[in-house]
């Protein structure tokens, strides 16, 4: 891998991180006043046992982002805070820090999202590959139209239907949450089993909806690669069909699918956030939902920053894997 290629990808990653911080800083200030301060002052005025702490927070906020300081200084302070992952306290759950709340919720989302994204990508890809090959089984061909129809609707909409059918009617799965309420997260077999049961429906609503799209893309790529000279040549050489299918056709059709995966990450996350809301799954989406309801600006900003940075990291990883799949990429001037 050429250093220039790696350096460029890291540059893009840093750019994404910078955009994430800048958006968080400037968008709330576009309206002229600072809604974050208004909310903070309102919360401090409410009183209660944590009032003293809230007032300290207002004082600290004013010192950092007060109007007496020029905008660029406020901005530098803000970006510095973001890079140290210091998102301040949660306004709605005062003594709790934003980063701690995120740290608790993030593993749930990461586990759900990486598993479902990879599973739907692999299953959809294989399905599309088989469909793009001559003599694919009839059953698979009938599977395609319903999968494509599902692909057109949002994840959470299908999730609602799954809740009704499989959790409410058949009672095969729990209705909502990430684990049985009253139990505490621990690494015991029964707890893991419980978590898996709770994850099935959210995962299914993401996987079943996204399979169709991956299958469609892969099928088209397989049809194209099937007509390539190297496949004809491999056939003429007398290679086994299995070998041609896996080593020649899929291997090459994989490249655009990987690019598409990198592009789809943002949409997958947006979709997953809403799925979590519908299932009250204890991940970042549900925390975001509650933060919006409580006008908890710091928490929302922290979540937005963390999600964008996570996508940056995922894109970076895919970008660094890509030259291994396609060695040509580093010869070309990227």
């Amino acid at each position: 891998m050429q250093p220039a290629y790696v350096a460029k990808r890291f540059g893009v990653f840093l750019l994404i991180v910078w955009v994430a911080g800048t958006i968080n800083f400037f968008l709330p200030r576009l309206g002229g006043s600072d809604p974050v301060r208004d909310r903070l002052v309102a919360q401090a005025a409410l009183g209660g046992s944590v009032q003293a702490g809230m007032e300290d927070m207002v004082a600290e906020y004013n010192e950092k982002f007060g109007l007496e300081r020029p905008l660029w200084q406020q901005y530098v302070t803000y970006v510095g805070d973001m890079l140290r992952l210091d998102f301040n306290y949660s306004i709605a759950n005062y003594p709790a820090k934003v980063i701690d709340i995120i740290r608790e919720a993030l593993p749930w989302t990461l586990a759900l999202l990486t598993t479902t994204t990879l599973l739907s990508w692999v299953i959809g890809g294989l399905l599309g590959a088989v469909l793009g090959w001559p003599r694919s089984p009839r059953i698979l061909q009938y599977l395609m139209p319903p999968l494509l129809a599902l692909n057109a609707i949002p994840f959470f909409l299908f999730g609602l239907v799954l809740i009704y059918l499989l959790a409410f009617r058949l009672r095969a799965f729990p209705l909502s949450g990430g684990y049985q309420s009253g139990t505490f997260p621990a690494f015991t077999p029964s707890f893991v089993w419980d978590v898996l049961q709770h994850a099935v429906l959210p995962a299914l609503s993401i996987i079943l909806v996204s399979i169709g799209g991956w299958a469609l893309g892969m099928r088209a790529m397989m049809v194209t690669t099937r007509g390539e000279d190297y496949v004809t040549f491999a056939d003429a050489k007398g290679l086994k069909e299995r070998t041609i299918f896996f080593r020649y056709a899929i291997r090459n059709a994989l490249l655009p699918q990987t690019t598409a995966l990198a592009l789809a990450l943002g949409q997958m996350i947006s979709g997953a956030v809403l799925v979590e809301v519908v299932f009250s799954y204890p991940g970042i989406g549900t925390v975001l939902f509650n933060a919006i309801r409580g006008s908890d600006f710091f928490l929302v900003q922290g979540i937005v920053f963390i999600i964008i940075v996570s996508i940056g990291i995922a894109t970076l990883i895919l970008d660094l894997i890509y030259p291994i799949l396609d060695p040509r990429i580093t010869y070309r001037r990227a």
């Binding site: 893009v12 750019l15 994404i16 955009v19 994430a20 958006i23 968080n24 968008l27 709330p28 576009l30 309206g31 809604p35 494509l148 129809a149 692909n151 057109a152 609707i153 949002p154 959470f156 909409l157 609602l160 239907v161 809740i163 009704y164 959790a167 409410f168 209705l175 909502s176 799209g213 469609l216 893309g217 099928r219 088209a220 790529m221 049809v223 194209t224 592009l263 990450l265 943002g266 949409q267 996350i269 947006s270 956030v273 809403l274 809301v277 519908v278 975001l288 939902f289 919006i292 309801r293 006008s295 600006f297 929302v300 900003q301 937005v304 999600i307 964008i308 996508i311 940056g312 894109t315």
Partner: protein
């Protein structure tokens, strides 16, 4: 809106597109060979019919809370029943469907128009401007749009109105069209007739409007349908998260109340079945029309999914 776009290539002769001049019969014949477009158009027409009939039979005032008895299952008086706050759900669907679609339409039209302008300028003239636009679009598309919309929506005082929400959704609607249309213009630019037009002394704007634009119309149509769909999706997402217009009976707000009141596990099926069915029909219809238009734009290549 879809009928206007799909009828164009068939009934107006345009030598450059290679579509034969033909009458309505040819268009119908084409629809038979392009079932996606036909079925998609039928789906959207069914929605249109539902709203049109509903406007005549439903009382718009009953889409407000406290207008009928709450939590009634469907009956002859309340065909879709009523929700917990006493809205007539039939009236809510009739009022909400066009309201939601309007958000998507306005955002989608703005997105495609603004996105096309950027795409044409960027791809045709190239150079630094192209690099800048491409850079902004690429980074912008990496970031999940919903998050940006959340930050904007949270900072609007006193909750959004439907119109403000439309503006918020439109803010990011041009990114995706800009990218895909730019790619199309780049390939089109290399074609022989465009080269000839340039060599024979046509200026930039003239080439864009007389050679490139007409040939991209079916593609722009598909792109528009895609952006309308994305706009509706973004609006529903914001609404489900509780950032929508609380006063309005849109489809997304209905789902918000469904989720808020846990209507599914309380067994109030009539509350959530209509919005889900309407949204599903809308998205599937738009998807099929986009696929159909794509096929018109690109009859040979079906691979770019």
């Amino acid at each position: 809106m879809s009928t206007a776009v799909q009828a164009r290539p068939a009934d107006r002769p345009r030598p450059a597109t290679g579509v034969r001049a033909g009458a309505v019969g040819a268009a119908l014949g084409y629809l038979r060979r392009n079932p996606a477009l036909l079925i998609g158009a039928l789906f959207l027409f069914a929605l249109f019919l539902f709203v049109a009939v509903g406007k005549l039979t439903a009382d718009a005032e009953e889409a407000r809370p406290l207008s009928v008895r709450s939590l009634q299952p469907p009956s002859s008086e309340l065909p879709f029943g009523s929700d917990k706050q006493g809205r007539n759900l039939y009236a809510v669907m009739v009022e909400g469907t066009p309201l939601t679609l309007r958000i998507g339409l306005i955002a989608g039209v703005f997105g495609v128009v603004f996105g096309s302008v950027l795409a044409f300028v960027s791809a045709y003239y190239g150079g630094l401007l192209d690099a800048a636009i491409k850079g902004v679009v690429d980074v912008g598309l990496t970031i999940p749009g919903l998050l940006i919309l959340i930050i904007i929506a949270m900072n609007v005082r006193g909750g959004l109105t439907v119109n403000q929400m439309t503006v918020v959704v439109a803010v990011l609607a041009w990114l995706y069209p800009a990218r895909t249309i730019r790619a199309q213009v780049l390939t089109l630019k290399q074609r022989g007739y465009v080269q000839i037009a340039r060599l024979s002394g046509m200026g930039g704007p003239e080439v864009i409007f007389r050679e490139l634009l007409p040939n991209l119309l079916p593609y722009l149509g598909a792109s528009l349908v895609g952006s309308v769909s994305a706009g509706v999706l973004a609006a529903i997402g914001l609404e489900l998260l509780g950032l929508g217009p609380f006063e309005a009976p849109t489809l997304g707000m209905t789902l918000y109340w469904v989720n808020y009141n846990a209507a599914i596990i309380n067994g109030w099926w009539w509350w959530w079945v209509p919005p889900i069915v309407v949204i599903a029909v809308l998205f599937i219809g738009l998807f099929l029309v986009a696929v159909g238009l794509d096929e018109i734009a690109n009859p040979r290549i079906r691979n770019r999914a």
